[in-house]
């Protein structure tokens, strides 16, 4: 799955996370896509091997959709923010 932009968000009412991308035009409705490499988009964790299923959405047209994704945990977020602080501080100090 090269050069696809994965969009992720959460529902307003239940806060449930989701992710989707636009599959190639030739993808059939029953096609499944297996994400080879994990990534985090918009604080939603999409692990490797996440299965995206091609569906037809009313608003978005044909999309590859996955619902078995999770929010990045608060612990992970604070760890990331702390690591970012360390990185910024290091580069400030060497200037």
């Amino acid at each position: 799955m090269r050069n696809v932009k994965i969009i992720a968000g959460k529902t307003k009412t239940s806060n449930k996370p989701w992710a989707y991308f636009k599959p190639p035009a030739e993808a059939k409705i029953d096609t499944k896509f297996n994400l080879k490499k994990g990534l985090v988009v918009n604080n939603i964790n999409i692990p490797n091997n996440t299965i995206f299923t091609v569906i037809e959405s009313k608003n978005l047209g044909i999309i590859a959709f996955a619902s078995n994704v999770t929010h990045v945990s608060k612990d992970d977020l604070s760890l990331k923010q702390n690591s970012e602080k360390i990185l910024k501080k290091y580069f400030e100090e060497i200037q």
């Binding site: 090269r2 080879k36 490499k37 994990g38 490797n48 091997n49 760890l79 990331k80 690591s83 970012e84 360390i86 990185l87 910024k88 290091y90 580069f91 400030e92 060497i94 200037q95």
Partner: protein, 407 residues
């Protein structure tokens, strides 16, 4: 003497994927990582800073292992105003045959050229490793075939592997020359990547970066056709001296050949023509004379020793296949050319007496009618000043070239 360190970058200078990688290692430095990255993607810069961050934050014994003595000197020079990197950075063979001490973590640069037994050695002398490499820059057949790099790739399939896919070093003109030597390797075949796709992956991010397509950075590469060997060296010497005497703030030059015998001959010829340069000796015992913070540095070096480095100008004289003296297979030969040309930030000069035998000319001959290459006779260089396009002209031509490509 103008001095400026390459290592003096700010947080804002880091590209998003470089930051993301550094953050992920700081988050959890007790595991192994594999950073793949194309030429000019900043692997070495990331590694050189990473070791200092981890040493400070984790109080661990960490060493950056590099493949060549020259790269080790490059890194040490980059940090010499802020710390002593002698204990942090070492080239692999120095560690293996001198200290051979265990550490908490090894960061291994250019690991695609490490033999399997060296990789096993590194693993057995450290708790964790961060591997940095790029199969497209493999320069040695012994490491290509023994499965060492493959074992690292296999270890990181689907996890902990990060890829820096954007080249930030080369101008679009230089990239157009370097791309002529891109090969498919076994990892590309496995991933189902076509040659066109691989070339697009290299070129398109560069074409989309204004800094790399600006006219100011896109003088065409110069191909010099000489009447004979003497004229060829006269022309090369004149251009080098012109650059050295010019007003540009940075004018680091590497003059490259594959074999030491050829370097000795060219060195002697250039010296006789009044060119000032440092020649890397065979046993590299004059490394201390080279200062990578000197923006007016000119070195004469084997191609293999230029791995991981960058220069404003690359000179590749005597580019005929029979004069280069390749000894590996065609894939490695092309990798050597790709590595050499992707070292350049500003411009490449390539020369030959017999155009049809030039390995470089033959590689680009199907695509010479563009504005990234300029062909001149040595007599034009020796008779008058070097033909140059104005920045405005060059910028316009670059725009025209990409017009319609939908980038």
């Amino acid at each position: 003497m103008a001095e400026q360190s390459w290592a003096g970058i700010t947080y804002g200078d880091l590209a998003k994927p470089q930051k993301a990688f550094l953050i992920s290692v700081i988050q959890d430095s007790d595991r192994n990582f594999f950073l793949k990255g194309c030429a000019g993607s900043g692997k070495t810069v990331v590694a050189a800073h990473l070791i200092r961050i981890l040493k400070k934050e984790e109080n661990k014994l960490i060493k950056l292992l590099v493949y060549t003595k020259l790269l080790s000197k490059f890194i040490k020079d980059g940090f010499n105003d802020i710390s002593n990197e002698n204990e942090n950075v070492e080239h692999f063979h120095s560690w293996k045959y001198n200290s051979h001490n265990p550490v908490d973590m090894f960061i291994v640069d250019e690991c695609q050229d490490f033999k399997k037994e060296w990789i096993d050695d590194v693993k057995s002398f450290s708790q964790n490793q961060i591997w940095l490499g790029d199969a497209s820059q493999t320069l040695y057949n012994y490491s290509k075939g023994d499965g060492g790099f493959k074992s690292i790739n296999n270890e990181f399939t689907n996890s902990n592997g990060t890829e820096l896919t954007t080249n930030y070093r080369n101008s679009i003109s230089i990239a157009q020359l370097a791309k002529s030597f891109i090969n498919l390797n076994e990892f590309d075949y496995k991933a189902g990547i076509s040659l066109k796709q691989k070339i697009d992956d290299f070129i398109i991010p560069i074409a989309n970066n204004e800094r790399q397509t600006s006219g100011a950075r896109n003088q065409p590469n110069i191909f010099i056709e000489a009447k004979n060997d003497s004229d060829e060296l006269d022309a090369i010497a004149k251009i080098i001296i012109d650059i050295q005497n010019g007003n540009e703030p940075s004018k680091q030059i590497a003059i490259a050949q594959l074999k030491y015998d050829h370097l000795d001959w060219i060195g002697s010829e250039l010296r006789n023509r009044g060119v000032d340069f440092l020649q890397l000796s065979r046993n590299k015992d004059n490394l201390e004379l080279i200062n990578f913070n000197n923006r007016n540095l000119t070195i004469l070096s084997p191609i293999h020793s230029l791995k991981g480095l960058e220069f404003d100008y690359i000179f590749f004289p005597r580019s005929e296949e029979n004069k280069i003296g390749f000894w590996e297979d065609k894939d490695i030969n092309n990798n050597l050319m790709f590595v050499l040309f992707s070292r350049a930030k500003t411009r490449i000069y390539c020369s030959f007496v017999n155009k049809r035998q030039s390995y470089v000319y033959n590689a680009i001959s199907s695509d010479i009618n563009n504005d990234f290459f300029q062909f001149v006779k040595s007599s034009e260089i020796l008779g008058e000043s070097l033909p140059q396009q104005s920045n405005e002209d060059a910028e316009k031509k670059v725009e025209e070239y990409f017009d319609g490509m939908g980038l």
